[in-house]
Symmetry: C2
Subunit: 308 residues, 2 copies
Protein backbone atom coordinates (compact mmCIF):
# COMPACT_ATOMS: atom_id res chain seq x y z
CA UNK A 1 0.00 0.00 0.00
CA UNK A 2 1.47 3.36 -1.06
CA UNK A 3 0.79 6.11 1.43
CA UNK A 4 0.98 9.85 0.98
CA UNK A 5 2.97 12.03 3.39
CA UNK A 6 -0.25 12.55 5.34
CA UNK A 7 -0.76 8.78 5.36
CA UNK A 8 2.76 8.06 6.57
CA UNK A 9 2.54 10.66 9.30
CA UNK A 10 -1.01 10.08 10.52
CA UNK A 11 -1.52 6.37 10.17
CA UNK A 12 1.48 5.16 12.16
CA UNK A 13 1.61 4.32 15.84
CA UNK A 14 1.44 7.64 17.65
CA UNK A 15 1.25 8.37 21.36
CA UNK A 16 -2.42 9.16 21.23
CA UNK A 17 -3.22 5.94 19.33
CA UNK A 18 -1.50 3.85 21.99
CA UNK A 19 -3.26 5.74 24.77
CA UNK A 20 -6.71 5.37 23.21
CA UNK A 21 -6.09 1.74 22.36
CA UNK A 22 -5.18 0.98 25.99
CA UNK A 23 -8.07 3.04 27.26
CA UNK A 24 -10.66 1.47 24.96
CA UNK A 25 -9.37 -2.02 25.64
CA UNK A 26 -9.26 -1.54 29.38
CA UNK A 27 -12.71 -0.13 29.85
CA UNK A 28 -14.63 -2.08 27.28
CA UNK A 29 -13.09 -5.37 28.29
CA UNK A 30 -13.05 -4.74 32.06
CA UNK A 31 -16.05 -2.53 32.70
CA UNK A 32 -15.70 -2.70 36.51
CA UNK A 33 -12.22 -1.21 36.52
CA UNK A 34 -11.91 2.25 38.08
CA UNK A 35 -9.85 3.81 35.38
CA UNK A 36 -9.00 7.44 35.91
CA UNK A 37 -6.05 7.78 33.55
CA UNK A 38 -6.14 8.93 29.95
CA UNK A 39 -8.88 11.45 30.50
CA UNK A 40 -11.66 8.95 31.08
CA UNK A 41 -14.23 10.48 33.43
CA UNK A 42 -15.39 8.83 36.63
CA UNK A 43 -18.90 7.43 36.74
CA UNK A 44 -21.03 9.58 39.02
CA UNK A 45 -24.53 8.23 39.63
CA UNK A 46 -26.13 11.63 40.17
CA UNK A 47 -24.72 13.05 36.95
CA UNK A 48 -25.69 9.93 35.02
CA UNK A 49 -29.25 10.20 36.28
CA UNK A 50 -29.50 13.79 35.02
CA UNK A 51 -28.49 12.64 31.54
CA UNK A 52 -30.85 9.66 31.73
CA UNK A 53 -33.76 12.02 32.45
CA UNK A 54 -32.81 14.20 29.50
CA UNK A 55 -32.70 11.17 27.21
CA UNK A 56 -36.08 9.99 28.50
CA UNK A 57 -37.56 13.40 27.74
CA UNK A 58 -36.19 13.24 24.20
CA UNK A 59 -37.61 9.78 23.54
CA UNK A 60 -41.06 10.85 24.70
CA UNK A 61 -41.15 13.80 22.28
CA UNK A 62 -41.23 12.50 18.74
CA UNK A 63 -39.98 15.81 17.27
CA UNK A 64 -37.05 15.90 19.67
CA UNK A 65 -36.24 12.29 18.85
CA UNK A 66 -36.37 13.00 15.13
CA UNK A 67 -34.17 16.02 15.62
CA UNK A 68 -31.64 13.92 17.59
CA UNK A 69 -31.36 11.17 15.00
CA UNK A 70 -32.81 12.26 11.72
CA UNK A 71 -31.59 15.77 10.89
CA UNK A 72 -28.25 17.15 9.79
CA UNK A 73 -27.39 20.24 11.78
CA UNK A 74 -26.02 23.43 10.22
CA UNK A 75 -22.21 23.52 9.96
CA UNK A 76 -21.88 25.67 13.07
CA UNK A 77 -24.10 23.36 15.14
CA UNK A 78 -27.62 23.28 16.61
CA UNK A 79 -28.66 26.97 16.65
CA UNK A 80 -30.72 26.73 19.85
CA UNK A 81 -27.77 25.14 21.64
CA UNK A 82 -25.34 27.82 20.41
CA UNK A 83 -27.71 30.49 21.70
CA UNK A 84 -28.02 28.87 25.14
CA UNK A 85 -24.26 28.40 25.51
CA UNK A 86 -23.64 32.05 24.61
CA UNK A 87 -26.42 33.25 26.93
CA UNK A 88 -25.08 31.28 29.90
CA UNK A 89 -21.52 32.50 29.48
CA UNK A 90 -22.73 36.09 28.98
CA UNK A 91 -24.97 35.91 32.05
CA UNK A 92 -22.39 34.26 34.26
CA UNK A 93 -19.18 36.00 33.29
CA UNK A 94 -20.26 39.12 31.41
CA UNK A 95 -18.48 37.97 28.24
CA UNK A 96 -19.91 39.74 25.17
CA UNK A 97 -21.10 36.68 23.26
CA UNK A 98 -23.90 35.69 20.93
CA UNK A 99 -24.55 32.46 19.03
CA UNK A 100 -22.12 33.80 16.39
CA UNK A 101 -19.27 33.26 18.84
CA UNK A 102 -19.93 29.56 19.42
CA UNK A 103 -19.26 26.54 17.22
CA UNK A 104 -19.64 22.84 17.88
CA UNK A 105 -17.34 19.97 16.89
CA UNK A 106 -17.34 16.20 17.28
CA UNK A 107 -15.13 16.45 20.37
CA UNK A 108 -12.29 18.80 21.21
CA UNK A 109 -9.63 16.73 19.38
CA UNK A 110 -11.13 17.49 15.93
CA UNK A 111 -11.56 21.11 17.07
CA UNK A 112 -7.82 21.32 17.77
CA UNK A 113 -6.97 19.49 14.54
CA UNK A 114 -8.82 22.17 12.60
CA UNK A 115 -7.83 25.22 14.68
CA UNK A 116 -4.13 24.38 14.79
CA UNK A 117 -3.89 23.57 11.09
CA UNK A 118 -5.98 26.59 10.16
CA UNK A 119 -3.50 28.90 11.90
CA UNK A 120 -0.13 27.14 11.68
CA UNK A 121 1.89 25.03 9.23
CA UNK A 122 2.69 26.01 5.65
CA UNK A 123 1.67 29.53 4.68
CA UNK A 124 0.89 30.72 1.14
CA UNK A 125 4.09 32.78 1.05
CA UNK A 126 6.17 29.64 1.63
CA UNK A 127 6.95 30.36 5.28
CA UNK A 128 6.11 28.07 8.18
CA UNK A 129 4.27 29.06 11.35
CA UNK A 130 3.99 27.11 14.58
CA UNK A 131 1.81 26.81 17.67
CA UNK A 132 3.68 27.85 20.79
CA UNK A 133 3.10 26.06 24.10
CA UNK A 134 4.14 28.48 26.88
CA UNK A 135 4.03 25.70 29.45
CA UNK A 136 5.39 22.20 28.77
CA UNK A 137 4.64 19.31 29.30
CA UNK A 138 1.34 19.48 27.46
CA UNK A 139 -1.39 17.09 26.31
CA UNK A 140 -0.03 14.18 24.26
CA UNK A 141 -2.96 14.40 21.85
CA UNK A 142 -1.64 17.64 20.36
CA UNK A 143 1.73 16.32 19.30
CA UNK A 144 0.76 14.44 16.13
CA UNK A 145 -1.93 16.81 14.95
CA UNK A 146 0.13 19.12 12.74
CA UNK A 147 -0.03 18.53 8.99
CA UNK A 148 3.54 19.77 8.53
CA UNK A 149 6.77 19.23 10.47
CA UNK A 150 8.10 21.36 13.36
CA UNK A 151 4.56 22.31 14.18
CA UNK A 152 5.06 23.12 17.87
CA UNK A 153 7.50 25.15 19.88
CA UNK A 154 7.56 25.29 23.68
CA UNK A 155 9.03 27.31 26.50
CA UNK A 156 10.68 25.42 29.35
CA UNK A 157 8.80 26.11 32.60
CA UNK A 158 10.09 27.58 35.82
CA UNK A 159 9.99 24.90 38.52
CA UNK A 160 9.61 25.65 42.20
CA UNK A 161 10.31 22.70 44.54
CA UNK A 162 8.32 22.53 47.77
CA UNK A 163 9.88 19.30 48.97
CA UNK A 164 11.14 16.09 47.36
CA UNK A 165 7.70 15.07 46.08
CA UNK A 166 5.89 18.31 45.49
CA UNK A 167 6.57 21.07 43.04
CA UNK A 168 4.77 23.76 41.14
CA UNK A 169 5.66 24.81 37.61
CA UNK A 170 4.95 28.14 36.07
CA UNK A 171 5.30 29.95 32.78
CA UNK A 172 8.81 31.39 32.64
CA UNK A 173 8.01 34.79 31.19
CA UNK A 174 11.68 35.72 31.20
CA UNK A 175 12.23 33.13 28.46
CA UNK A 176 8.91 33.41 26.62
CA UNK A 177 9.51 35.43 23.47
CA UNK A 178 6.94 35.32 20.70
CA UNK A 179 8.66 34.91 17.32
CA UNK A 180 7.34 36.17 14.01
CA UNK A 181 6.73 32.49 13.11
CA UNK A 182 4.43 32.01 16.10
CA UNK A 183 0.83 31.54 14.92
CA UNK A 184 -0.84 31.23 18.33
CA UNK A 185 -0.18 30.54 22.01
CA UNK A 186 -1.91 27.49 23.44
CA UNK A 187 -2.34 26.27 27.00
CA UNK A 188 -4.59 23.74 28.64
CA UNK A 189 -6.05 24.95 31.93
CA UNK A 190 -5.95 22.85 34.09
CA UNK A 191 -2.91 21.55 32.27
CA UNK A 192 -3.37 18.07 30.87
CA UNK A 193 -1.87 15.74 32.13
CA UNK A 194 -0.43 17.21 35.34
CA UNK A 195 -3.43 19.16 36.65
CA UNK A 196 -1.33 22.27 37.15
CA UNK A 197 -3.58 25.34 36.93
CA UNK A 198 -2.31 28.55 35.35
CA UNK A 199 -2.97 31.46 37.70
CA UNK A 200 -5.20 34.34 36.66
CA UNK A 201 -2.13 36.52 36.46
CA UNK A 202 -0.30 34.06 34.17
CA UNK A 203 -3.34 34.02 31.88
CA UNK A 204 -3.52 37.81 31.88
CA UNK A 205 0.13 38.06 30.92
CA UNK A 206 -0.25 35.49 28.15
CA UNK A 207 -3.32 37.32 26.90
CA UNK A 208 -1.44 40.57 26.80
CA UNK A 209 1.54 39.05 24.98
CA UNK A 210 -0.74 37.41 22.43
CA UNK A 211 -2.75 40.58 21.93
CA UNK A 212 0.37 42.64 21.35
CA UNK A 213 1.64 40.11 18.79
CA UNK A 214 -1.84 39.98 17.17
CA UNK A 215 -2.07 36.21 17.52
CA UNK A 216 -4.80 34.27 19.34
CA UNK A 217 -4.44 32.78 22.80
CA UNK A 218 -5.98 29.30 22.68
CA UNK A 219 -7.17 27.86 26.00
CA UNK A 220 -8.05 24.17 26.19
CA UNK A 221 -10.66 24.05 28.94
CA UNK A 222 -11.52 20.35 28.59
CA UNK A 223 -11.01 19.78 32.31
CA UNK A 224 -11.68 23.20 33.47
CA UNK A 225 -13.29 26.50 33.34
CA UNK A 226 -16.19 27.12 33.55
CA UNK A 227 -17.13 23.43 33.37
CA UNK A 228 -16.60 20.55 34.25
CA UNK A 229 -14.58 22.51 36.82
CA UNK A 230 -12.15 19.76 37.80
CA UNK A 231 -9.82 22.04 39.70
CA UNK A 232 -9.18 22.86 43.28
CA UNK A 233 -8.60 26.55 43.51
CA UNK A 234 -10.35 29.77 42.60
CA UNK A 235 -8.99 30.36 39.12
CA UNK A 236 -11.23 32.61 37.05
CA UNK A 237 -12.50 31.63 33.58
CA UNK A 238 -11.01 33.80 30.84
CA UNK A 239 -12.28 34.86 27.44
CA UNK A 240 -12.11 37.87 25.17
CA UNK A 241 -12.17 38.56 21.42
CA UNK A 242 -8.56 37.41 21.07
CA UNK A 243 -9.08 34.17 23.03
CA UNK A 244 -10.16 30.86 21.54
CA UNK A 245 -11.64 28.86 24.42
CA UNK A 246 -12.27 25.19 23.65
CA UNK A 247 -14.62 23.32 25.97
CA UNK A 248 -15.75 19.71 25.99
CA UNK A 249 -18.57 17.62 27.39
CA UNK A 250 -16.25 14.62 27.80
CA UNK A 251 -14.99 15.25 31.31
CA UNK A 252 -18.53 15.98 32.43
CA UNK A 253 -19.19 12.28 31.89
CA UNK A 254 -19.99 12.29 28.16
CA UNK A 255 -16.87 11.19 26.21
CA UNK A 256 -19.02 8.85 24.13
CA UNK A 257 -21.15 11.65 22.71
CA UNK A 258 -18.21 13.56 21.17
CA UNK A 259 -19.04 17.21 21.69
CA UNK A 260 -16.53 20.04 21.69
CA UNK A 261 -17.46 23.72 22.00
CA UNK A 262 -15.38 26.51 20.46
CA UNK A 263 -15.83 30.03 21.88
CA UNK A 264 -14.13 32.67 19.74
CA UNK A 265 -14.66 35.87 17.78
CA UNK A 266 -17.10 35.48 14.91
CA UNK A 267 -14.44 35.56 12.19
CA UNK A 268 -12.69 32.54 13.73
CA UNK A 269 -15.98 30.75 14.45
CA UNK A 270 -17.02 31.19 10.85
CA UNK A 271 -13.71 29.94 9.43
CA UNK A 272 -13.72 27.04 11.88
CA UNK A 273 -17.30 26.00 11.01
CA UNK A 274 -16.54 26.02 7.30
CA UNK A 275 -13.43 23.87 7.70
CA UNK A 276 -15.28 21.54 10.06
CA UNK A 277 -17.93 21.01 7.40
CA UNK A 278 -15.37 19.93 4.81
CA UNK A 279 -13.72 17.55 7.29
CA UNK A 280 -16.77 16.27 9.23
CA UNK A 281 -19.86 17.34 7.21
CA UNK A 282 -21.97 17.80 10.36
CA UNK A 283 -21.77 17.43 14.12
CA UNK A 284 -23.47 14.76 16.16
CA UNK A 285 -26.70 15.85 17.82
CA UNK A 286 -26.55 13.78 21.01
CA UNK A 287 -24.36 16.13 23.05
CA UNK A 288 -26.34 19.31 22.29
CA UNK A 289 -29.65 17.44 22.75
CA UNK A 290 -28.60 16.11 26.16
CA UNK A 291 -27.28 19.32 27.65
CA UNK A 292 -29.25 22.11 25.96
CA UNK A 293 -31.68 22.37 28.88
CA UNK A 294 -28.82 22.29 31.39
CA UNK A 295 -27.29 25.34 29.75
CA UNK A 296 -30.66 27.08 29.64
CA UNK A 297 -31.24 26.57 33.36
CA UNK A 298 -27.61 27.09 34.33
CA UNK A 299 -27.60 23.63 35.91
CA UNK A 300 -24.48 22.75 33.92
CA UNK A 301 -22.50 25.00 36.29
CA UNK A 302 -24.01 23.78 39.57
CA UNK A 303 -23.65 20.18 38.40
CA UNK A 304 -19.96 20.85 37.66
CA UNK A 305 -19.28 22.70 40.89
CA UNK A 306 -21.24 20.48 43.26
CA UNK A 307 -21.19 17.00 41.73
CA UNK A 308 -18.28 16.45 39.35
CA UNK B 1 -6.35 36.77 11.13
CA UNK B 2 -3.46 35.07 9.33
CA UNK B 3 -4.42 31.69 7.94
CA UNK B 4 -2.22 28.82 6.82
CA UNK B 5 -2.65 27.22 3.39
CA UNK B 6 -4.95 24.67 5.04
CA UNK B 7 -6.87 27.53 6.63
CA UNK B 8 -7.23 29.42 3.35
CA UNK B 9 -8.37 26.33 1.50
CA UNK B 10 -10.64 24.75 4.11
CA UNK B 11 -12.24 27.68 5.83
CA UNK B 12 -13.64 29.48 2.80
CA UNK B 13 -17.08 29.14 1.28
CA UNK B 14 -17.09 25.75 -0.42
CA UNK B 15 -19.90 23.91 -2.16
CA UNK B 16 -20.44 21.56 0.74
CA UNK B 17 -20.58 24.41 3.26
CA UNK B 18 -23.31 26.15 1.26
CA UNK B 19 -25.23 22.89 0.90
CA UNK B 20 -25.06 22.04 4.60
CA UNK B 21 -25.89 25.58 5.59
CA UNK B 22 -29.04 25.53 3.43
CA UNK B 23 -29.93 22.07 4.64
CA UNK B 24 -29.45 22.84 8.33
CA UNK B 25 -31.29 26.14 8.04
CA UNK B 26 -34.17 24.65 6.09
CA UNK B 27 -34.85 21.70 8.34
CA UNK B 28 -34.15 23.18 11.71
CA UNK B 29 -36.12 26.33 10.99
CA UNK B 30 -38.96 24.66 9.06
CA UNK B 31 -39.30 21.21 10.59
CA UNK B 32 -42.47 20.37 8.62
CA UNK B 33 -40.81 20.77 5.23
CA UNK B 34 -40.42 17.59 3.20
CA UNK B 35 -36.85 18.10 2.21
CA UNK B 36 -35.35 15.32 0.13
CA UNK B 37 -32.41 17.17 -1.37
CA UNK B 38 -28.87 17.30 -0.05
CA UNK B 39 -28.88 13.75 1.23
CA UNK B 40 -31.31 14.32 4.07
CA UNK B 41 -33.27 11.12 4.69
CA UNK B 42 -37.05 10.96 4.72
CA UNK B 43 -38.79 10.44 8.03
CA UNK B 44 -40.28 6.94 8.11
CA UNK B 45 -42.39 6.21 11.19
CA UNK B 46 -41.68 2.48 11.24
CA UNK B 47 -37.93 2.95 11.06
CA UNK B 48 -38.05 5.66 13.71
CA UNK B 49 -39.97 3.37 16.05
CA UNK B 50 -37.29 0.68 15.71
CA UNK B 51 -34.64 3.17 16.79
CA UNK B 52 -36.86 4.46 19.60
CA UNK B 53 -37.16 0.92 20.98
CA UNK B 54 -33.39 0.48 20.84
CA UNK B 55 -32.88 3.74 22.72
CA UNK B 56 -35.47 2.71 25.34
CA UNK B 57 -33.63 -0.58 25.87
CA UNK B 58 -30.36 1.31 26.37
CA UNK B 59 -31.85 3.70 28.91
CA UNK B 60 -33.27 0.82 30.96
CA UNK B 61 -29.87 -0.91 31.22
CA UNK B 62 -27.54 1.22 33.29
CA UNK B 63 -24.41 -0.46 31.89
CA UNK B 64 -25.54 0.11 28.32
CA UNK B 65 -26.34 3.73 29.13
CA UNK B 66 -22.94 4.22 30.71
CA UNK B 67 -21.32 2.63 27.70
CA UNK B 68 -23.24 4.94 25.34
CA UNK B 69 -22.30 8.13 27.14
CA UNK B 70 -19.44 7.57 29.52
CA UNK B 71 -16.76 5.50 27.76
CA UNK B 72 -14.24 6.28 25.03
CA UNK B 73 -14.21 3.52 22.46
CA UNK B 74 -11.02 2.02 21.04
CA UNK B 75 -9.71 3.82 17.93
CA UNK B 76 -11.21 1.25 15.57
CA UNK B 77 -14.64 1.46 17.22
CA UNK B 78 -16.88 -0.60 19.53
CA UNK B 79 -15.49 -4.16 19.22
CA UNK B 80 -18.83 -5.90 19.57
CA UNK B 81 -20.26 -3.75 16.80
CA UNK B 82 -17.29 -4.42 14.49
CA UNK B 83 -17.77 -8.14 15.06
CA UNK B 84 -21.49 -8.01 14.26
CA UNK B 85 -20.98 -5.96 11.09
CA UNK B 86 -18.34 -8.41 9.84
CA UNK B 87 -20.48 -11.42 10.74
CA UNK B 88 -23.51 -10.08 8.90
CA UNK B 89 -21.60 -9.27 5.73
CA UNK B 90 -19.83 -12.67 5.85
CA UNK B 91 -23.11 -14.52 6.40
CA UNK B 92 -25.02 -12.62 3.75
CA UNK B 93 -22.49 -12.24 0.96
CA UNK B 94 -19.75 -14.75 1.75
CA UNK B 95 -17.14 -11.96 2.05
CA UNK B 96 -14.16 -13.15 4.09
CA UNK B 97 -14.32 -10.62 6.88
CA UNK B 98 -13.61 -10.39 10.59
CA UNK B 99 -13.73 -7.45 13.00
CA UNK B 100 -10.22 -6.58 11.75
CA UNK B 101 -11.72 -5.55 8.43
CA UNK B 102 -14.14 -2.99 9.86
CA UNK B 103 -13.53 0.50 11.23
CA UNK B 104 -15.95 3.16 12.40
CA UNK B 105 -15.83 6.91 11.82
CA UNK B 106 -17.93 9.91 12.81
CA UNK B 107 -19.78 9.79 9.49
CA UNK B 108 -18.59 8.94 6.01
CA UNK B 109 -17.30 12.47 5.24
CA UNK B 110 -14.48 12.19 7.83
CA UNK B 111 -13.84 8.67 6.54
CA UNK B 112 -13.27 10.05 3.03
CA UNK B 113 -11.21 12.95 4.35
CA UNK B 114 -8.84 10.46 5.96
CA UNK B 115 -8.86 7.77 3.25
CA UNK B 116 -8.32 10.18 0.36
CA UNK B 117 -5.54 12.11 2.07
CA UNK B 118 -3.90 8.90 3.30
CA UNK B 119 -3.60 7.65 -0.27
CA UNK B 120 -3.30 10.75 -2.44
CA UNK B 121 -1.68 14.19 -2.37
CA UNK B 122 2.01 14.88 -1.72
CA UNK B 123 4.19 11.78 -1.51
CA UNK B 124 7.50 11.53 0.36
CA UNK B 125 9.42 11.36 -2.91
CA UNK B 126 8.05 14.74 -3.94
CA UNK B 127 5.55 13.41 -6.47
CA UNK B 128 1.80 14.02 -6.37
CA UNK B 129 -0.89 11.35 -6.59
CA UNK B 130 -4.60 11.82 -7.19
CA UNK B 131 -7.92 10.10 -6.67
CA UNK B 132 -9.54 9.17 -9.97
CA UNK B 133 -13.31 9.35 -10.43
CA UNK B 134 -14.21 6.99 -13.31
CA UNK B 135 -17.71 8.43 -13.49
CA UNK B 136 -18.42 12.14 -13.26
CA UNK B 137 -20.43 14.02 -11.96
CA UNK B 138 -19.72 12.88 -8.43
CA UNK B 139 -20.64 13.93 -4.89
CA UNK B 140 -19.92 17.61 -4.20
CA UNK B 141 -18.61 16.77 -0.72
CA UNK B 142 -15.47 15.18 -2.17
CA UNK B 143 -14.27 18.19 -4.09
CA UNK B 144 -12.77 20.27 -1.28
CA UNK B 145 -11.42 17.41 0.79
CA UNK B 146 -7.90 17.18 -0.67
CA UNK B 147 -5.09 18.73 1.36
CA UNK B 148 -3.13 19.53 -1.81
CA UNK B 149 -4.11 20.92 -5.21
CA UNK B 150 -5.15 18.91 -8.30
CA UNK B 151 -6.37 16.20 -6.00
CA UNK B 152 -8.93 14.63 -8.34
CA UNK B 153 -8.98 13.48 -11.92
CA UNK B 154 -12.08 12.21 -13.73
CA UNK B 155 -13.09 10.36 -16.87
CA UNK B 156 -15.91 11.84 -18.93
CA UNK B 157 -18.82 9.37 -19.03
CA UNK B 158 -20.47 7.78 -22.05
CA UNK B 159 -24.02 9.10 -22.33
CA UNK B 160 -26.86 7.18 -23.90
CA UNK B 161 -30.00 9.21 -24.62
CA UNK B 162 -33.32 7.40 -24.37
CA UNK B 163 -35.43 10.42 -25.22
CA UNK B 164 -35.23 14.15 -24.57
CA UNK B 165 -35.60 13.80 -20.81
CA UNK B 166 -34.09 10.47 -20.01
CA UNK B 167 -30.55 9.25 -20.32
CA UNK B 168 -28.19 6.77 -18.78
CA UNK B 169 -24.50 7.41 -18.28
CA UNK B 170 -21.84 4.79 -18.03
CA UNK B 171 -18.13 4.48 -17.39
CA UNK B 172 -16.37 5.00 -20.72
CA UNK B 173 -13.77 2.25 -20.45
CA UNK B 174 -12.32 3.21 -23.82
CA UNK B 175 -11.12 6.47 -22.22
CA UNK B 176 -10.35 5.23 -18.71
CA UNK B 177 -6.59 4.86 -18.41
CA UNK B 178 -5.05 4.57 -14.97
CA UNK B 179 -1.93 6.76 -14.76
CA UNK B 180 1.07 6.10 -12.55
CA UNK B 181 -0.07 9.13 -10.50
CA UNK B 182 -3.44 7.52 -9.77
CA UNK B 183 -3.68 6.59 -6.08
CA UNK B 184 -7.14 4.99 -6.13
CA UNK B 185 -10.35 4.76 -8.11
CA UNK B 186 -13.47 6.01 -6.38
CA UNK B 187 -17.15 5.71 -7.27
CA UNK B 188 -20.34 6.22 -5.34
CA UNK B 189 -22.94 3.53 -5.97
CA UNK B 190 -25.69 4.62 -6.38
CA UNK B 191 -23.95 7.69 -7.69
CA UNK B 192 -24.53 10.77 -5.59
CA UNK B 193 -26.27 13.02 -6.70
CA UNK B 194 -27.86 11.50 -9.83
CA UNK B 195 -28.88 8.08 -8.50
CA UNK B 196 -27.26 6.33 -11.47
CA UNK B 197 -26.23 2.81 -10.42
CA UNK B 198 -23.05 1.25 -11.77
CA UNK B 199 -23.84 -2.19 -13.18
CA UNK B 200 -22.22 -5.30 -11.73
CA UNK B 201 -20.18 -5.59 -14.90
CA UNK B 202 -18.91 -1.99 -14.62
CA UNK B 203 -17.87 -2.68 -11.02
CA UNK B 204 -16.11 -5.89 -12.06
CA UNK B 205 -14.18 -4.08 -14.76
CA UNK B 206 -13.19 -1.27 -12.37
CA UNK B 207 -12.14 -3.86 -9.81
CA UNK B 208 -9.98 -5.61 -12.36
CA UNK B 209 -8.35 -2.40 -13.56
CA UNK B 210 -7.62 -1.33 -9.98
CA UNK B 211 -6.28 -4.76 -9.06
CA UNK B 212 -3.94 -4.79 -12.06
CA UNK B 213 -2.65 -1.31 -11.15
CA UNK B 214 -2.33 -2.35 -7.48
CA UNK B 215 -4.46 0.55 -6.29
CA UNK B 216 -7.64 0.32 -4.21
CA UNK B 217 -11.15 0.64 -5.61
CA UNK B 218 -13.12 2.81 -3.19
CA UNK B 219 -16.89 2.43 -3.25
CA UNK B 220 -19.04 4.99 -1.46
CA UNK B 221 -22.13 3.01 -0.49
CA UNK B 222 -23.82 5.76 1.54
CA UNK B 223 -27.06 5.33 -0.38
CA UNK B 224 -26.60 1.82 -1.43
CA UNK B 225 -25.38 -1.63 -1.03
CA UNK B 226 -26.08 -3.56 1.10
CA UNK B 227 -27.92 -0.91 3.13
CA UNK B 228 -29.87 1.45 3.18
CA UNK B 229 -30.52 -0.01 -0.29
CA UNK B 230 -31.97 3.11 -1.91
CA UNK B 231 -31.85 1.73 -5.43
CA UNK B 232 -34.30 0.25 -7.83
CA UNK B 233 -32.57 -2.60 -9.58
CA UNK B 234 -30.78 -5.79 -8.67
CA UNK B 235 -27.22 -4.57 -8.45
CA UNK B 236 -25.04 -6.85 -6.31
CA UNK B 237 -22.96 -5.56 -3.38
CA UNK B 238 -19.22 -5.81 -4.09
CA UNK B 239 -16.23 -6.22 -1.80
CA UNK B 240 -12.86 -7.93 -1.86
CA UNK B 241 -9.42 -7.35 -0.32
CA UNK B 242 -8.68 -4.59 -2.82
CA UNK B 243 -11.97 -2.78 -2.26
CA UNK B 244 -12.60 -0.10 0.33
CA UNK B 245 -16.35 -0.03 0.89
CA UNK B 246 -17.62 2.94 2.90
CA UNK B 247 -21.10 2.65 4.39
CA UNK B 248 -23.13 5.08 6.45
CA UNK B 249 -26.06 5.03 8.83
CA UNK B 250 -27.18 8.48 7.64
CA UNK B 251 -29.47 7.48 4.81
CA UNK B 252 -31.05 4.86 7.03
CA UNK B 253 -32.52 7.76 8.98
CA UNK B 254 -29.62 8.53 11.32
CA UNK B 255 -27.65 11.51 9.94
CA UNK B 256 -27.61 13.08 13.40
CA UNK B 257 -25.68 10.18 14.96
CA UNK B 258 -22.67 10.50 12.60
CA UNK B 259 -21.63 6.92 11.93
CA UNK B 260 -19.60 5.78 8.95
CA UNK B 261 -18.38 2.20 8.45
CA UNK B 262 -15.19 1.36 6.52
CA UNK B 263 -14.84 -2.20 5.17
CA UNK B 264 -11.32 -2.92 3.90
CA UNK B 265 -8.32 -5.21 4.25
CA UNK B 266 -6.78 -5.15 7.72
CA UNK B 267 -3.74 -3.11 6.69
CA UNK B 268 -5.96 -0.28 5.46
CA UNK B 269 -8.32 -0.58 8.45
CA UNK B 270 -5.39 -0.31 10.82
CA UNK B 271 -3.87 2.71 9.06
CA UNK B 272 -7.30 4.35 8.88
CA UNK B 273 -8.05 3.79 12.58
CA UNK B 274 -4.73 5.27 13.62
CA UNK B 275 -5.22 8.38 11.50
CA UNK B 276 -8.80 8.71 12.70
CA UNK B 277 -7.57 8.71 16.29
CA UNK B 278 -5.20 11.62 15.65
CA UNK B 279 -7.94 13.60 13.89
CA UNK B 280 -11.01 12.61 15.95
CA UNK B 281 -9.68 10.90 19.13
CA UNK B 282 -12.67 8.54 19.32
CA UNK B 283 -15.95 7.79 17.57
CA UNK B 284 -19.39 8.55 18.90
CA UNK B 285 -21.14 5.61 20.52
CA UNK B 286 -24.74 6.40 19.59
CA UNK B 287 -24.74 4.85 16.11
CA UNK B 288 -23.16 1.53 17.11
CA UNK B 289 -25.34 1.37 20.26
CA UNK B 290 -28.52 1.92 18.25
CA UNK B 291 -27.91 -0.57 15.46
CA UNK B 292 -25.73 -3.28 17.02
CA UNK B 293 -28.72 -5.54 17.66
CA UNK B 294 -30.05 -4.88 14.15
CA UNK B 295 -26.82 -6.18 12.66
CA UNK B 296 -26.85 -9.18 14.98
CA UNK B 297 -30.36 -10.15 13.96
CA UNK B 298 -29.92 -9.18 10.30
CA UNK B 299 -32.86 -6.82 10.66
CA UNK B 300 -30.76 -4.00 9.21
CA UNK B 301 -31.13 -5.63 5.78
CA UNK B 302 -34.85 -6.34 5.95
CA UNK B 303 -35.48 -2.85 7.30
CA UNK B 304 -33.51 -1.44 4.35
CA UNK B 305 -35.15 -3.62 1.74
CA UNK B 306 -38.73 -3.45 2.98
CA UNK B 307 -39.08 -0.11 4.73
CA UNK B 308 -36.54 2.48 3.55
Amino acid sequence: MKLSQFGEKFSGLTGIVELMDDLGGALNENPEMIFMGGGNPARIAEVESVFRSRLEAIIKDSNKLHSLMGIYQSPQGDKEFLTEVAALLRRQFGWRLTAKNIAISNGSQPAFFILYNMLAGSMSDGSQRSIHLPLAPEYIGYSDIGLSDSFFTATRPEIEMFNDDLFKYRVDFSKLAIQKETAALCVSRPTNPTGNVLTDSEVEQLDELAGRAKIPLIIDGAYGLPFPSILFNDARPHWNENTILVLSLSKLGLPGVRTGIVVANDEIVNAFSNANTVVSLANGNLGPSLVKELFKSGKILSLSNDRV
